[in-house]
């Protein structure tokens, strides 16, 4: 068990009174002085209490439900059906932002709001609340009983239907609870039926004592407080009866307005997204992080749009404005957009070359260019392409082809084009339409925004953070996968969610709790069109859109939409102009976002690809260096040994240029050059040379004796390297590990220095010892050093050796960083695979099979 966990265990035992009295004594002694420990104990205690309280709350919830169930059963026993209604209103009028007055005893004007002399008991008994309304401004009033009325400016009309100016006296009488209703002499009878009242109130507006009308176009938006909303409430009008009572007539259903809230207080993530993050132990409190990860799943929509043959048979220079293959569209995006049934596109591209090709065929998933190139003269407009796209059932042309094409004709700008449709009933794919001059800037801004999302807090978060911008495509396999992920997903495009989850949609039905609820079901349909339905009908009642959505869906989703529709949720007022503007914004912005995200991803992929290439080169270079080092070492040591052998034998050493030449000779001949062969053999095996000259009987002995090194806490290092620096060689020897220790055999002719280098993460650990001898060095302890110190430590070695060591050190550090980068990429890809199914529930995506051996990994 890790140290931290043991620590937690001890605190836990202390809290649970499970320590032995002696352990307890020690612990308490430490607790007295250790502030950090005190804090930890408190936190752990709080956690336990918190858990208990969560448990208690759960139990209480269950009890509450059971209690309610019991009660409901009892109620059913009554078997009565209550007719429900809200009481009424005489006239719906206004009041104002200035002070209100209450007259204890109502002095009634001569005429009522209908211009009649009739008054009911209630008119006399219920105190009146007076407000003065300035008709030039919007006014909100709240009555004593809590009725809130919103009175737009210019809400009042005179008898001729002209808007009234100046101040208006606005009167309200209210009876909102049973006591007030009874006291006010009101009843809740409608004819001979008894109503359940949601409150009764009276409003009237007068100017100079004369009743004025409410502009029926505006109405007065009124909220009546209630404990529970009864969906069947209706608005009744009061009719004064001769006996002084009021009868309630003309019921009309209430309009159900939705209350917009701050859109940022809503949650538009797919239902299981946040729980999944939590399950993976990620930071669910960081919205930036959640956003960037979620939106990174966005893809660019290839909009399939059918258009008629005749529409596109002519020169489409104009098309630039229509969004078709626009002026500044480069070839790359152009090509990757083509698809669908058969059609032909001719285009002319501006470029200072004289190439020409035509009749290139574009098959589904393939571009096959029959290059009938030829010259058509020198001019700025010289490249003409002519593609036939046939039978493209699927809407994808693979990216690599597009890339190939684009790389062939880089910087080519499309200036004009013709589209000729060859067969009838044809579709084309439109390029995403960006508002002119808008897309590039916007996209780049977003890309920057993306990169800024970096979390600095801790390493783990950073790993996943970079993920926001990535689809790893290290291996080509991964690349293929990334493409599939980005292109063929069925579900709600996160780019759309990002578009609507933004302040632009405040004060629309999107910014309501009610829509938030719907969104969860919309995610379940995996159908973008259902989402579009809501955004494109901002002026409709929510329940109307619910019905439309139900028609578009099936199964569970359909049932859910039908249930939503039953609630009869209303709308949020929106004027035509704003709605149109938002629709346009929605259509455009989602593409811009998707493009920006794609761009950011592409950038990330490109960077990684470059890094991969660089790493590949480094490794090749390193391998070459290693070979060279070994060969050089071998040569140098061989010369050394050979010279010594000849000296001992008392023979002159044959004059040779280098070891390689000797080696060749050895192979070809033999005989008196046996000395060389023995020396070579001894060196190759690093075994002691013990050679007796058959002619002179003289001996040549060069001893090789073993050194072994073991490292203290060896397992804690991510990377461990042991070097021996023989004083007569220009480079180092790498000591390999065999069994438990690092072993090598030392040549007695040389002095040796030992250098050990370890890495934990990017932190270097170092040990060195000069003049080591053939024996065991046990538990060598490496100490942490900065890279700077590390280099300084090498200064005392011979220049050549120092250089080769430095080079190797650099390479090791590079490898560590590279490994880290790779790990991150893999972690990122894994994370994406984990998250995919919760974002796109309709996709059957293989998730990584968890390591079943290690139960821990499931957590």
């Amino acid at each position: 068990m890790r140290n931290e966990l043991e620590h937690i265990e001890i605190i836990e035992k202390y809290l649970r009174n499970e320590l032995s009295s002696e352990e307890r004594k020690v612990f308490e002694e430490k607790l007295k002085t250790d502030v950090k420990l005190q804090k930890e104990v408190a936190t752990q205690r709080d956690i336990i209490t918190g858990i208990e309280r969560l448990g208690i709350k759960q139990t209480i919830q269950v009890a509450h439900k059971k209690y309610k169930l019991g009660k409901a059963g009892f109620n059913l026993g009554l078997g009565a059906i209550v007719l429900v209604a809200i009481t009424s209103v005489f006239l719906w009028y206004n009041a104002n932002n200035s002070t209100s007055t209450i007259s204890d005893e109502s002095i009634l004007p001569e005429l009522n709001e209908l211009g009649e002399k009739q008054w009911a008991d209630a008119d006399k008994l219920i105190p009146s609340q007076q407000f003065t309304i300035n008709t030039a401004i919007d006014t909100v009033i709240e009555t004593q009983g809590g009725i809130v009325m919103y009175i737009p400016k210019g809400s009042f009309l005179d008898d001729n239907g002209n808007t009234i100016t100046g101040n208006v006296d606005f009167e309200v009488k209210e009876a909102l609870n049973t006591a007030q209703i009874v006291m006010g002499g009101l009843s809740s009878m409608s004819g001979d039926k008894l109503l359940e009242s949601g409150g009764m109130f009276y409003i009237n507006a007068r100017q100079d004592g004369k009743t004025v009308k409410i502009n029926p176009e505006h109405g007065i938006y009124t909220e009546v407080p209630t404990d529970e909303v009864n969906p069947n409430m209706q608005l009744f009008e009061g009719k004064r009866m001769d006996n002084g009572s009021i009868d309630w007539i003309n019921p009309t259903p209430l309009e159900k307005f939705l209350t917009p809230v701050d859109i940022n207080s809503l949650n538009f993530y797919p239902l299981k997204y946040e729980p999944k993050l939590a399950e993976l132990g990620l930071d669910v409190t960081n919205k930036k992080y959640k956003d960037s990860l979620y939106y990174s799943f966005a893809w660019e929509d290839k909009q399939k749009e059918c258009f008629k043959v005749e529409d596109y048979e002519d020169d489409l220079t104009e098309g630039a404005r229509k969004g078709f293959l626009g002026k500044n569209t480069n070839i790359e995006s152009h090509v990757s957009q083509i698809s669908c049934d058969e059609f032909e596109i001719s285009f002319i591209i501006g470029m200072r070359t004289t190439q020409y090709f035509s009749q290139s065929r574009v098959e589904p998933f393939d571009i096959d260019i029959n290059d009938n190139s030829g010259k058509i003269g020198k001019s700025d407009i010289t490249l003409i392409g002519n593609f036939v796209v046939s039978n493209a059932v699927s809407s994808k042309i693979r990216n690599e082809h597009a890339e190939f094409f684009a790389s062939e004709y880089k910087n080519v700008k499309l200036i004009t084009q013709k589209i000729k449709v060859k067969s009838s009933g044809v579709c084309g794919l439109k390029l995403p339409v960006y508002p002119e001059g808008y897309e590039v800037v916007e996209a780049i801004d977003l890309a920057v925004w993306f990169e800024k999302e970096q979390l600095n807090s801790n390493d783990d978060a950073t790993i996943y953070e970079v993920d926001t911008t990535s689809v790893s495509d290290l291996a080509s396999e991964a690349s293929a996968k990334a493409v599939v992920e980005a292109e063929s997903v069925q579900g709600i495009n996160p780019a759309k969610i990002k578009t609507i989850w933004s302040k632009e949609f405040n004060n629309t039905l999107i910014a309501t709790r009610e829509f938030e609820e719907r969104l969860k079901t919309i995610f379940g349909t995996c159908n973008d069109k259902v989402l579009d339905l809501y955004i494109n009908n901002l002026n409709l009642d929510l329940y109307v859109i619910d019905s439309m959505a139900a028609n578009m869906s099936s199964g569970n989703s359909r049932n859910e939409f039908l249930k939503f529709a039953e609630r009869k949720d209303g709308k949020v007022q929106i004027d035509e102009r704003r709605m149109k503007k938002l629709q346009k914004h929605y259509a455009e912005k989602q593409k811009i976002i998707a493009a920006a995200i794609a761009k950011t991803k592409a950038k990330f992929d490109k960077e990684n690809k470059q890094l991969d290439e660089k790493a590949g080169k480094e490794r090749i270079k390193h391998t070459q260096d290693e070979v060279k080092r070994k060969v050089d070492n071998h040569t140098e040591e061989f010369n050394l040994n050979l010279t010594e052998a000849y000296r001992q034998l008392g023979k002159p050493k044959p004059d040779r240029l280098d070891a390689k030449a000797i080696y060749k000779l050895r192979l070809k001949t033999g005989g008196w050059k046996n000395v060389d062969a023995y020396v070579m053999e001894s060196l190759d095996n690093r075994e002691t040379l013990d050679y007796t000259d058959p002619q002179t009987g003289k001996k040549a002995v060069i001893k090789y004796e073993p050194i072994s090194i073991t490292i203290k806490d060896e397992t804690k290092f991510d990377r461990l390297l042991v070097y021996i620096l023989p004083d007569k060689l220009n480079s180092f020897m790498r000591v390999e590990k065999s069994n438990l220790s690092y072993t090598e055999k030392l040549n007695e002719l040389m002095n040796h220095n030992l250098v050990c280098l370890g890495y934990i993460g990017e932190q270097a650990y170092f040990y060195s010892k000069d003049n080591v001898t053939p024996k065991e060095y046990k538990n060598v302890e490496l100490l942490p050093l900065s890279q700077q110190e590390l280099k300084q430590n090498l200064n005392r070695y011979d220049n050549m050796q120092r250089k080769s060591l430095l080079k190797d050190f650099d390479y090791q550090l590079f490898e560590i960083k590279e490994q880290k980068r790779q790990d991150k990429l893999i972690a990122r890809q894994h994370l994406r695979e984990e998250i995919m199914p919760v974002i796109f529930p309709c996709e059957n995506i293989m998730t990584i099979v968890e390591d079943s051996v290690n139960a821990d990994s499931a957590w």
């Binding site: 937690i8 709080d46 209490t49 858990i51 208690i56 709350k57 059971k66």
Partner: protein, 179 residues
């Protein structure tokens, strides 16, 4: 059910039964809250909080019953609602007289502060992930043995479960200490 029996139930960890019995006091409280400007949802929350306060009082102190539990819950609910109401409206407009001694009032005030503190902690804990939360609840709230818990949450051995519990605690500690 007799009050003493309910307290006994709470002490032996049969909260489920105890709470169900205590809910007979709910209509009174609901009526009170509704008449004092609250909603049914408010009533539910207030009553839940009162139950927790009562529960903790029984569990953590040498609790002696001085009045009927019903009366106690009603008074506590009233106090809680007054506090909540003032917080919402910024003024004291509801007349809620009390029969608490000042000492009890201080205690209740503390309980309210405690509630606020633990609301934060609880919300952090709910982010631990279902598995962790379940494991911790089984252990600390339900008081089951690690062996039983291991089999309940599908871990191979008691040891793994125990280890996992500490890991969950570690994660919780990290989160709580960031509050």
């Amino acid at each position: 059910m007799e009050d003493n029996k309910i307290i006994e139930l709470l002490k032996i960890g049969r909260q489920d039964k105890a709470f169900l019995n205590l809910y007979k006091n709910y209509p009174q409280v609901e009526k009170l809250i509704l008449s004092k400007g609250g909603s049914k949802e408010d009533a539910k929350d207030v009553f839940q909080e009162a139950l927790i306060i009562f529960y903790e009082k029984v569990r953590n102190t040498d609790f002696k019953l001085t009045a009927a539990i019903g009366t106690y819950l009603y008074s506590v609910s009233r106090f809680l609602w007054k506090d909540e109401f003032i917080k919402r409206k910024g003024q004291q407009t509801v007349d809620l007289s009390f029969e608490f001694t000042s000492e009890e009032e201080i205690e209740l005030q503390k309980a309210i502060e405690r509630e606020a503190k633990f609301k934060q902690i609880e919300s952090v804990l709910t982010q631990l992930g279902d598995k962790c939360l379940r494991l911790l609840k089984l252990f600390y709230y339900e008081g089951l043995s690690m062996k039983i818990i291991a089999s309940k949450v599908g871990l191979k051995s008691e040891k793994i479960a125990k280890n996992q519990k500490y890991k969950c605690l570690e994660r919780a500690k990290l989160k709580v200490s960031e509050l």
